[in-house]
């Protein structure tokens, strides 16, 4: 289980997270929604230790991430897959080499590596693209390769950073199906997005991040039926100022 415990993070004078608390239960897809720049991606980077919190902490499987030794942190990263917003594929490497990277680091033999590469590309329906470079792929294909790179490691958790942003509706639906299929394989997912259609499709629980803290968290049904004006405005995509409304409390 991942626990975000009173996380605070600022960049210079600008606070991004201010006491964020959230539990990410195992075996479910938890979706964090929120406006652009609200700190969703920062939260994911704090979970894998790419950033350090100013206060509070991230606890993964009972261990506080920012207190881990370098070796423990590397071991933790072996259990977490990360799908980046723009895929972040190594552009000087082929699709196969991109997927192999994490497997080689873990010391698998060549046969296992080949098998895992084929298997993960089959899951994202990109078999046959092994020899192609990221520059030769569409945005949607690159994101799917990003997912293949993450699932090839058979992680316990996968963090998805805006997985459907910039994709056409059909490709977005394919991405949603992939996230659901991955969850069904027993992988715990944490998705950050502002695509509400995707959030309602893939999420078992949805949490709204607002002004550096969780405004509301609940099941898809609870969020859809919310009376919190800020959450309501966000999920309905209405312009206007709902910010004056009092902040709700995370469950």
């Amino acid at each position: 289980m991942i626990v975000l415990d009173h996380l605070s993070k600022a960049f210079g004078p600008k606070p991004v997270l201010q006491g964020l608390c959230l539990e990410v239960p195992d075996g479910q897809n938890t979706v964090i929604i929120g406006h652009s720049g609200s700190g969703k991606s920062v939260t994911l980077k704090l979970i894998v230790g790419l950033l350090e919190p100013d206060a509070g902490g991230v606890i993964v499987d009972g261990e506080v991430v920012h207190e881990m030794t370098r070796e423990r942190l590397m071991a933790l990263r072996g259990r977490i897959g990360y799908v980046f917003q723009f895929a972040a594929l190594f552009d000087s490497m082929t699709v196969e080499e991109n997927i192999r990277m994490g497997l080689v680091k873990r010391g698998y033999d060549q046969a296992t590596i080949r098998e895992r590469v084929e298997e993960s590309l089959a899951v994202v329906e990109l078999s046959g693209t092994e020899r192609r470079y990221p520059g030769e792929l569409s945005g949607g294909m690159r994101k799917r390769v990003g997912i293949a790179r993450a699932i090839a490691l058979k992680p316990h958790y996968i963090l998805y950073d805006e997985p459907t942003t910039g994709l056409d509706p059909v490709t977005s639906a394919v991405m949603d199906q992939l996230m659901i299929r991955t969850r069904d394989l027993g992988v715990t997912g944490l998705v950050v997005t502002h695509d509400m259609r995707s959030a309602f499709t893939v999420g078992d629980r949805i949490a709204m991040l607002y002004q550096g803290a969780i405004r509301q968290v609940g099941s898809v049904g609870e969020i859809q039926a919310t009376e919190d004006p800020v959450v309501r405005q966000f999920i309905e995509g209405r312009p206007g100022d709902a910010a004056a409304a009092p902040a709700g409390r995370a469950e």
């Binding site: 071991a75 990263r77 972040a88 552009d91």
Partner: protein, 253 residues
């Protein structure tokens, strides 16, 4: 309030402290040879072997100019065979390592900074970390080691070609024969001339590559940020070469 220039350079979070911290992390990352080992040969080829043409081009013209210049200075005052001494001594001890270092600061430093800067702003460095790779072991160590190992090799070529072109110039354009040129070349020659130049060039290589890595990994988002870090890498690489040049002259001469 803006921090002063002094604190930006020498303060606790200043440039010198940053370079020091990174250097220490790089030294620690040497233990992770399973990560950097397989990458070393590729980097040696890219940073060293691929730099040979530009280096030799510079060395040829340096030899020609030195030969003509020393003839101009010595004519009528010093025996002309001293041209060999000046060409040899200057190229081996100073111009070979420094001009090669400067040329490679442009080529190697800029290439490393642009590559790592682009990786940084496109989150490829973060992706590397999430795959449990240490950025120091994977990105910095192979580049710094490759440059430290290959700069002396490239410099040795430059020394040989520079002296050779000085000799060709002397026997064709000056009133000097091969035995006279060789007499001058041997006159003040000491073995130290060569290893002094090669030791210097190894340190230049490490400094240029380290500056390229630090600037690249410190690049801010966007093409402008990568461009800025590339420029800084070249400037800092050249400055590091001049500082190290003075340091080695003080320590070894």
């Amino acid at each position: 309030m803006q921090p002063s220039v002094a604190s930006r350079v020498a303060g606790r979070d200043g440039f010198v402290a940053h370079v020091g911290r990174r250097s220490l992390e790089t030294v620690r990352a040497l233990a992770d040879y399973r990560t950097w080992g397989p990458l070393l040969v590729g980097q040696m080829r890219r940073l060293g072997v691929d730099s040979v043409p530009i280096t030799l081009f510079i060395a040829v013209f340096t030899g020609i100019v030195l030969s003509l210049l020393s003839s101009y200075i010595f004519t009528g005052t010093v025996p002309l065979y001293f041209v060999g001494a000046l060409v040899g001594k200057t190229i081996m001890m100073e111009l070979g390592p420094v001009l090669t270092g400067m040329a490679l600061a442009g080529r190697v430093g800029a290439s490393i900074a642009a590559e790592l800067g682009t990786m940084k702003v496109t989150e490829q460095v973060d992706a590397l970390e999430t795959l449990a790779y240490d950025r120091n072991s994977y990105l910095i160590v192979p580049r710094v080691l490759a440059a430290a190992l290959m700069f002396p090799v490239v410099t040795a070529f430059a020394m040989g070609v520079g002296v050779f072109s000085g000799w060709v110039t002397a026997i064709n354009l000056l009133d000097l024969s091969t035995p006279e040129f060789l007499k001058g070349l041997k006159l003040f020659y000491r073995f130290k001339d060569i290893w002094f130049g090669l030791v210097k060039s190894a340190s230049f290589g490490a400094a240029v590559a380290l500056m390229g890595c630090l600037q690249g990994l410190g690049a801010r988002a966007g093409a402008e940020g990568v461009g800025l870090s590339t420029t800084r890498a070249v400037v800092l690489g050249c400055e590091a070469i001049l500082v190290l040049d003075a340091f080695w002259a003080l320590v070894l001469l």
